[in-house]
């Protein structure tokens, strides 16, 4: 089935519910699915997969400290998952983002280009043109080996069309 192949291509109130430590740690379980055998270390969550071919793969567990670091990153630093309300982009100045963000990271560039696309959708062509030209200038500075060609073409398209609208 196609969809699976795509897989990796792809409050406020504080907690009173128990923590991981409150849970009885299960004994290592050995299970027997049709094609392989997996066993799980009940403390670290390390998973050993024994394939039908005899090959063994170990999926590393996670120590308490490692998990706590993740909790810190997720809850404390980021306040949970990314939340995008309607109009959230009105509250953010993309030119400021442009100063702060590392443009060699694709995700950062993508979110900046999204501002331009939204302006284009909203028919705010003057603003789209201004932002698009600035993004183009900055993207070109970091465009090594022409890796960002598609992104640049997309911006060029919006700039060109915004001029004509």
């Amino acid at each position: 089935m196609l969809w699976g192949r795509l897989i990796r291509m792809a409050m406020s109130d504080s907690e009173v519910v128990g923590s991981m430590e409150a849970v009885p740690v299960p004994a290592p379980v050995t299970t027997g699915p049709a094609t392989s055998t997996i066993s799980v270390d009940g403390i670290t969550g390390e998973v050993t997969v024994r394939k039908a071919s005899g090959k063994v793969k170990v999926r590393k567990g996670q120590s308490k400290e490692e998990y706590e670091n993740q909790l810190h990153d997720y809850f404390q630093l980021n306040g949970g998952p990314r939340k995008t309300e309607e109009k959230w982009m009105d509250e953010v100045d993309p030119l400021r983002l442009l100063q702060e963000k590392d443009l060699t990271i694709k995700l950062n560039r993508q979110s900046l280009s999204n501002f331009c696309e939204r302006l284009y959708y909203q028919r705010r062509y003057d603003e789209c043109l201004t932002l698009g030209e600035e993004l183009l200038r900055r993207y070109q500075e970091v465009n090594k080996k022409n890796k960002m060609q598609r992104e640049i073409e997309e911006l060029e398209y919006m700039v060109k069309r915004s001029k004509g609208k």
Partner: protein, 348 residues
């Protein structure tokens, strides 16, 4: 509770309007229809699509399957796999996992931001099954039940937990699995009426779902029927044949997000909502945007040559202009936005 120095928020409170179990149990009495559910699709069930479904009488919407292992270990995976907002509710987050520890951590991390968590026990893909994830779990009854039990023992009614399974060749095995899941405390079970090896081109087996429903009735745990809900009239039909309390559509809503509102084909308004939400929330990878629009336009029977043109367009802004060249595409806030059912051809 303090975790080191980290404050962990409580699970999101469940009230009648957002408690998926309450919704599933009461829709037949209150709305004279089964609960309507847009099921999980890897890649596709992202926030903009979920919000479109909610415009059209979809009671509960799923995220794509998220791998617990990655989510609890990797900030990049979290960013890529899950984003939400305050109107993204009732929301089920679906998880792919093969062990209790990762599952408990995952639940701890997502329960404050969703209305329930579903374990994927249906994914038939070799790469996942080999790892004991997805469909492998229906052949590992003890492991699956231990996962359900661990979550329910820790959270009780504070967190809703569902399992989405496939049927076995031997239906009695499915009955046994479901009965054990009920004893472990699962809140409801979604049954996809296909076995691990049934192709999606082969029809789903509603008799098998009925067989299970009849044999777990004493447990009073609702069942949601999944498979081949492709048209609006299928909703009642599937509920009647299977005796299920809810019906989950997946490919059907991908092509026609308004399926549960009774639209025979995708209304134009879905396209306008989808454009709006996609750009409003901060975009989707271009291929994904294009594929969604392709599915909707194909469902509306837009001529093949035009669909082919759409697939040749290379970027978001260009695609917007392509829509503008052929159709009257209304933007959010413009008079008549998202009110049109038929295709508003330009120059007609």
């Amino acid at each position: 509770m303090e975790k080191g120095s980290v404050l962990i928020p409580r699970p999101k409170p469940l009230r009648p309007h957002n408690d998926p179990l309450h919704i599933i149990k009461t829709r037949k009495a209150t709305h004279k229809r089964p609960a309507t559910i847009a099921g999980p699709m890897v890649r596709y069930s992202k926030l903009p699509f979920r919000q479109v479904c909610r415009q059209y009488d979809t009671d509960i919407v799923y995220t794509p399957m998220i791998l617990a292992r990655e989510f609890v270990r990797n900030p990049h995976a979290r960013l890529a796999d899950f984003s939400t907002n305050s109107s993204d509710s009732p929301l089920m987050v679906q998880v792919g996992t093969n062990n209790v520890m990762d599952l408990l951590k995952f639940v701890e991390m997502v329960a404050p931001y969703c209305d329930g968590i579903g374990i994927n026990c249906g994914c038939p893909i070799k790469e996942q099954v080999r790892e004991g994830i997805g469909c492998a779990l229906i052949y590992n009854r003890e492991l699956l039940c231990s996962m359900v039990k661990a979550v329910k023992e820790k959270y009780g009614d504070l967190v809703r937990l569902e399992t989405k399974i496939r049927i076995h060749e031997d239906w009695d095995q499915t009955v046994k699995l479901c009965r054990d899941l009920c004893s472990a405390g699962v809140d409801w079970i979604t049954i996809h009426g296909r076995t691990k090896n049934t192709r999606s081109s082969h029809t789903a087996n509603f008799e098998a779902i009925r067989y299970v429903v009849d044999r777990i009735r004493d447990k009073q745990v609702p069942v949601v029927a999944n498979g081949d809900c492709l048209q609006s009239e299928d909703v009642q039909k599937i509920a009647e044949i299977t005796g299920a309390d809810g019906v989950m559509a997946v490919r059907g809503v991908l092509s026609n997000p308004a399926l549960f509102s009774g639209f025979k084909t995708c209304p134009w308004s879905c396209v306008e909502w989808f454009w709006y939400y996609t750009l409003e929330f901060g975009g989707l990878p271009y291929q994904l945007l294009q594929h969604h629009l392709y599915c909707m336009l194909e469902n509306m029977e837009v001529p093949r040559n035009l669909i082919k043109e759409l697939m040749d367009v290379k970027g978001t802004a260009e695609l917007l202009d392509w829509f503008g060249d052929h159709f009257e595409l209304k933007r959010y806030g413009e008079p008549g936005f998202a009110t049109c059912v038929d295709i508003p051809w330009k120059n007609q």
